[in-house]
Structures are given as structure tokens and as C-alpha cells.
């Protein structure tokens, strides 16, 4: 790689080169959970406070109409990022700017409802995220009446019918209950509900990992078609790199609460820079044998309560040296990829 062209920058993502500001801007977002033992135990057993840094300084942009995917293994903090962007958690540090507006400040004010209307979500498990005692009409119509968008029951009925047709269900399905649908159909109901308030940004946390492959294809195709039609922006959270390759424009790889590589999709899959990204790509089982034996990732993700010093990946990394064990790398530009790795920076990777 062209190491001479590498420019060291701050850990500020710039996935977009357009002049106007991207719709979603996240800067140095962090979420720390206090997982200490109860006060009495701490006093009696002299145990220290324990902090879990679930997300530790994450920055990225998502331009309008584009998809950023976050990938990583369990416990890397990707779902916490999703919840932060939805306002379900208040961040310990950092900011989330939506359309030029400080979202976390807005969520606390009455005006926050307008923002909530514009940011919606799709959850992983369509069996758990739909109320089994509500009809589809009540489920899909709730955001509309809750935000006071449609109050007339006849108009509401009609709008719910339209939304269902958009996601490939029938208008008549509105009087049914969730148990009358298959997993893929339920996930479409979730999408219809998310689209009800005409949001501009959808946070999708593993939307297809509970679905079978043939049904997954249906849901991914609908999500892509809707994005095109309505210029939706997606934050897509997944552990499945094949799905990520299919849906994304940009990909961010997370490891123990930090972004370690951000690049546009084509670059990331063609020339992964960070050793962890390379290992992840290598670990995907390939349908069509390439003839070469895979080298499985060595070791396991360390305990996030007690992360390694320096680069969090150093105990599993084949390129680790003393600097990696002591100094924590920050994101820097290598070509068009932002990567947090000393080895790449020094040209050892």
C-alpha cells in the first residue's frame, strides 16, 4: 500500500466528501456502564468500582440515502451505538448531530418528539418486538396516532393499508394478529411500523439474523428498494459480513467498543487493512471453495471489563509488537481507509 500518502488525522470520520454536512454526524460517542458490586459489598470486600466501556469514542458520518454498517463480534458495542442513536441511552461523552441539530439535547425537550418521528428502528427478533395481543393495524398505526400525525380512524386505517402494501403484505392483513404471520412477514410488519412516521433515518439492529436465508433475501430486498424510493439513511448492525457487503455503502468494524477500521464497502472488502478485519473476512465460510485453507482467527475476544493495554486486539494479533502492547492506536487515514493500527501506520501490515 501507498504508505507515503498516509496522512495522520484526528479520529474524525469523513466518509462523505460532499460539500453539505451529512445527515448523521457522530463524534467521539462513548457509553460507560457502572457494573460495580453494590455499595455494601464494595465497602466490606474492598472491591473497587468497575466500569464497562461499552462504546469508547466512536465517530462516523452517514450521508442522506446511504447505509453505514457496523460489524463486530458479540460484546463489541455495536448494539449500544444503536441504542445511543435512538436516545434510549444518554451518552457518557460525545455527540450525535442529526440534520444539524444536537440530538441528545433535543431528546430531552418536548421538541424531541419531532426528532423521534424522523429516527425509527427495526429490531432483531420479530417474535419479541410485536405485541402478540395487538392487531397489525394497532401495531402499525400506533406511531401515527402517538405522534398525532393521523387522528381520524378512517384515514388511519387507510394509511396502515398503504404501509402494508409497501412492504409486500396485503391490505386485509391489518386485522390479523402477529402469530398468524411467519418470521419474514413479521419483520415486514416491523418495517411497516418503522416507516409509518416517514422517518429519514432507520437504525436496524440485526434485522435479518433471526430469519432463514430465503426470507432474509426478501427482507433485504425490500429494505433496499425502500431506501432507493425514499432516500432513507440506514445504520445497519450485523455480525454477518456477507449481508453487510450486500446492503452497505460504508462499513465500520468495531472491536471492544472502538471503531478500528472505516472504509467504503468496495475498499474494505477488496483491501482490508486492520489485521482483525482481515481475520474476520478470512473466517467467513465460503460457498465456492477458493482452494486455499482458511486461517481461523486465533483466541477469543478479551473480557471488556479488563481490556488489554495498548491496542485491544494485540493479544490475538500476529503483527503485535511492544508499541501495540503499550500505546493505543487512533484512527488515521491509509489511502481512503481509516484504520487504527500501528502496524499499518508503520508499513508493517
Amino acid at each position: 500500500m501507498n504508505t507515503a500518502a498516509e496522512v495522520k488525522t484526528e479520529a474524525v470520520a469523513s466518509t462523505s466528501t460532499t460539500a453539505d454536512a451529512p445527515l448523521i454526524q457522530v463524534r467521539d460517542l462513548a457509553m460507560t456502564f457502572d457494573v460495580s458490586a453494590p455499595w455494601l459489598n464494595r465497602v466490606l470486600e474492598r472491591r473497587p468500582r468497575q466500569l464497562l466501556r461499552a462504546v469508547d469514542g466512536v465517530s462516523f458520518d452517514i450521508p442522506k440515502g446511504k447505509t453505514l454498517s457496523l460489524v463486530g463480534e458479540s460484546g463489541c458495542g455495536k448494539s449500544t451505538v444503536a441504542r445511543l442513536l435512538l436516545g434510549l441511552y444518554t451518552p457518557t461523552r460525545g455527540s450525535f448531530t442529526f440534520d444539524g441539530q444536537d440530538a441528545h439535547a433535543a431528546f430531552k425537550t418536548p421538541a424531541g418528539n419531532v426528532l423521534r418521528r424522523r429516527v425509527q428502528m427495526i429490531f432483531q427478533d420479530p417474535y419479541a418486538s410485536l405485541n402478540p395481543r395487538w392487531t397489525v393495524e394497532a401495531i402499525v398505526g400506533e406511531p401515527l396516532s402517538e405522534h398525532g400525525l393521523i387522528t381520524d380512524p378512517v384515514a388511519l386505517r387507510q394509511r396502515v393499508g398503504e404501509l402494508l402494501v409497501q412492504v409486500g403484505l396485503a391490505e386485509g392483513d391489518r386485522s390479523k394478529y402477529p402469530h398468524q404471520f411467519s418470521g419474514g412477514q413479521r419483520q415486514r410488519i416491523s418495517i411497516a411500523r418503522a416507516l409509518a412516521t416517514e422517518p429519514e433515518f432507520l437504525v436496524c439492529d440485526e434485522p435479518t439474523s433471526a430469519l432463514d436465508v430465503s426470507v432474509q433475501a426478501q427482507v433485504l430486498n425490500i429494505m433496499k428498494a425502500l431506501q432507493k424510493k425514499r432516500e432513507l439513511s440506514y445504520l445497519f448492525i450485523s455480525h454477518n459480513l456477507a449481508v453487510v457487503r450486500h446492503v452497505s455503502d460504508y462499513v465500520g468494524v468495531m472491536y471492544l467498543g472502538r471503531l478500528i477500521e472505516v472504509a467504503d464497502k468496495a475498499t474494505l472488502f477488496a483491501t482490508p487493512r486492520h489485521p482483525y478485519t482481515r481475520m474476520l473476512l478470512d473466517a467467513i465460510p465460503k460457498m465456492h471453495a477458493t482452494g486455499r485453507a482458511r486461517t481461523p482467527v486465533q483466541g477469543e475476544v478479551p473480557n471488556p471489563l479488563n481490556p488489554p493495554t495498548g491496542c485491544a486486539f494485540n493479544p490475538r494479533c500476529p503483527l503485535a509488537n511492544d508499541r501495540c502492547r503499550n500505546e493505543r492506536p487512533v484512527l488515521h487515514l491509509a489511502g481512503t481507509t481509516q484504520v487504527a493500527c500501528h502496524a499499518v501506520e508503520e508499513g508493517r501490515g
Binding site: 457487503r245 465460510p285 460457498m287
Partner: protein, 322 residues
């Protein structure tokens, strides 16, 4: 000689509103040392096939027809006690969630030595020596110390290694592995699959690998059976089934899987979803979703027939050979 033969296996669930047929005339066999993949979507009957073979069908489910032969001997009619001796000794089992297959109150060493002592004529000291060797073989660091640890002291990937060691403890000829990597992270998944392949090859054990992940099948198996709505839709050498599928369902399934090495604008999708077992269509169960359906598919149920290197249950193949 084949190690395991499953012939026209039928599994039924009697209920108040009539009997549901969950497996319908399933037939396949496994040769010694072979890895057979069984793939299908949820509800296709793949796990049920595994449960029927190891004699762990949950009541009221029962084998209502066909037979299962292990090394030429029928095992589908054995009583619970006889089946218990076969499980462990001749057929090992690995399940999806490693935490539920291990007893949280016993050390892994006790669970391993107990299994070895129950099935093999060895002394206690010898059993412990073997248990340590098994843990070492399955890639657990410092097995001499780890043998006295409890399951909760292991991580998910390490626990699944212990489960594999446990399944191999009595040196069975066949391992039934039901979604052994589904609960694990991608990087750990690759480690476990390689391990399973290696230890089974070293011991000459055959594996029936049940999974919904076609990538895992492609990398691991010799042959694969594709199941749909309680029947085998296609069976054959794994690379033939993946690259030249003979059944339209297999073809649709392969095209629906996003390929990590390739960019596509839209994925091919199979419209609709798999029928529930109380509403299986007449004729070929796939016909309402099949892009190449014709008259015969509506009325007559196809059996597995030769379709080049694979066998497929599809009338298109019949027409092609006539």
C-alpha cells in the same frame, strides 16, 4: 458397509386435531468416516431427523414408519435403556448451546471421566488420563488444570470444545452435531468447525452435521442433504449440489445467500415461505413457490431420482431422463 442407514423414516406428532407428519419418507445413508451435511430452513425437519437417530424424539413425537440401521442393526425400536448405551458409546451428540449440554454442578473432568467409565472398560486413573488427552486434542490450553474447572469458568467457544471432547469420549463411530456453531461468533465458529473436522478425521468418526449455514456445509462436508417441509429435496456430493443444483428449491436457496466475495444489486428471493406441517400442499410440497411448476407437480409427489451426480425429488428431472 454403510455406517448408518435411514430408510423411509416417518415421524408423526399425534394431536387432538389429527396427526401431524413432520418427517415424511426420509432416506439417506452415511459411510464410515464421512461428513454428511443436512441443511434446510427452520421447520424443514433437519433437527428432528437428528433427534430420531439418537433416540431423543420428544413425546408425543414418534417414529411411525421406516427404519434406522446402525452398522446393519435396527436401532429405531430399541427401548430407552438400550438406546442409552448406544448414545455416547456408538453415537455421540453435539448440540447448539454448549451451556445446556454440560452439567453446571460438575467439573468438566467429572463429566468426561464419568462418560468414559460408563462406556469403556478402563480404570479411574486411565479415564482421567484420557479426559486430559481429549481436552488437549480439542485445543483447550493447560488441560491438567482446566479439567477441574466448572463449565461457567469456560468461555462459549471453550465450552463447545468441551462438548466436542465429551461427544468423542467413548470413541463413537458417528457424531450427530445439531447446529454446533450457531450460538458462536464468526471467528470462533471457524475454529470449532476446523476442530470438529480434524478430530473426527483422526478418529475415523462419521459426522451428521445439521446446520442452516450453507457456507459451513460447503467447507466441511463430503455430501449434503437439502431438506424441505419434512422431506429430502436433494442429496449429493456437496460441490455438485452447490454448483449444479438439480432441484429448483436448492437453486433458489443458493441464489438467496449473499456472497461475501461478490456484489449484487438485488438478491434472488424465493417468494412465500415454507408451509407449516399442518398445511403441506398436495403433490410436491415446493410447488406453490416453484418458478418451474407444471401440472404434474400439483397432484403427484416426486420421490428422489437420479439427476446427474445428485439425487433430486423433482418431476423436472424425471421429464429430463424420459
Amino acid at each position: 458397509m454403510t455406517l448408518l442407514q435411514v430408510q423411509n423414516l416417518v415421524v408423526e406428532f399425534p394431536g387432538r386435531r389429527g396427526t401431524l407428519r413432520a418427517l415424511d419418507q426420509v432416506s439417506f445413508d452415511i459411510a464410515p468416516g464421512e461428513i454428511l451435511g443436512v441443511v434446510g430452513e427452520s421447520g424443514a425437519g433437519k433437527s428432528l431427523t437428528g433427534a430420531a437417530i439418537i433416540g431423543l424424539l420428544e413425546p408425543p413425537g414418534r417414529i411411525a414408519g421406516g427404519q434406522i440401521l446402525l452398522e446393519g442393526e435396527r436401532i429405531d425400536q430399541l427401548d430407552a435403556e438400550a438406546m442409552r448405551h448406544i448414545r455416547g458409546r456408538r453415537i455421540g451428540a453435539i448440540f447448539q448451546d454448549p451451556m445446556t449440554s454440560l452439567n453446571p454442578l460438575y467439573t468438566v473432568g467429572r463429566q468426561l471421566t464419568e462418560t468414559i467409565l460408563a462406556h469403556l472398560p478402563v480404570t479411574k486413573a486411565e479415564a482421567r488420563r484420557r479426559a486430559i488427552a481429549l481436552l488437549a486434542d480439542t485445543g483447550i490450553p493447560a488441560p491438567e488444570q482446566r479439567i477441574d474447572h466448572y463449565p461457567h469458568q469456560f468461555s462459549g467457544g471453550m465450552r463447545q470444545r468441551v462438548v466436542i471432547a465429551l461427544a468423542l469420549a467413548a470413541e463413537p463411530k458417528l457424531i450427530v452435531a445439531d447446529e454446533p456453531t450457531t450460538a458462536l461468533d464468526v471467528s470462533i465458529q471457524a475454529q470449532i468447525i476446523q476442530l470438529l473436522k480434524k478430530v473426527c478425521r483422526e478418529r475415523g468418526a462419521a459426522v451428521m452435521l445439521i446446520t442452516h449455514d450453507m457456507g459451513v456445509i460447503a467447507e466441511t462436508c463430503d455430501r449434503v442433504a437439502v431438506m424441505y417441509a419434512g422431506r429430502v429435496a436433494e442429496i449429493g456430493p456437496v460441490h455438485e449440489v452447490i454448483n449444479h443444483p438439480a432441484h429448483p428449491y436448492t437453486a433458489g436457496l443458493m441464489a438467496a445467500i449473499p456472497d461475501p466475495m461478490e456484489d449484487r444489486e438485488m438478491l434472488n428471493q424465493i417468494d412465500g415461505s415454507m408451509p407449516r406441517i399442518n398445511a403441506i400442499p398436495t403433490g410436491c410440497a415446493f410447488h406453490p413457490r416453484c418458478p418451474q411448476v407444471f401440472d404434474r407437480c400439483h397432484v403427484e409427489r416426486p420421490e428422489l431420482i437420479d439427476a446427474g451426480p445428485t439425487r433430486a425429488a423433482c418431476w423436472l428431472r424425471q421429464e429430463a431422463t424420459v
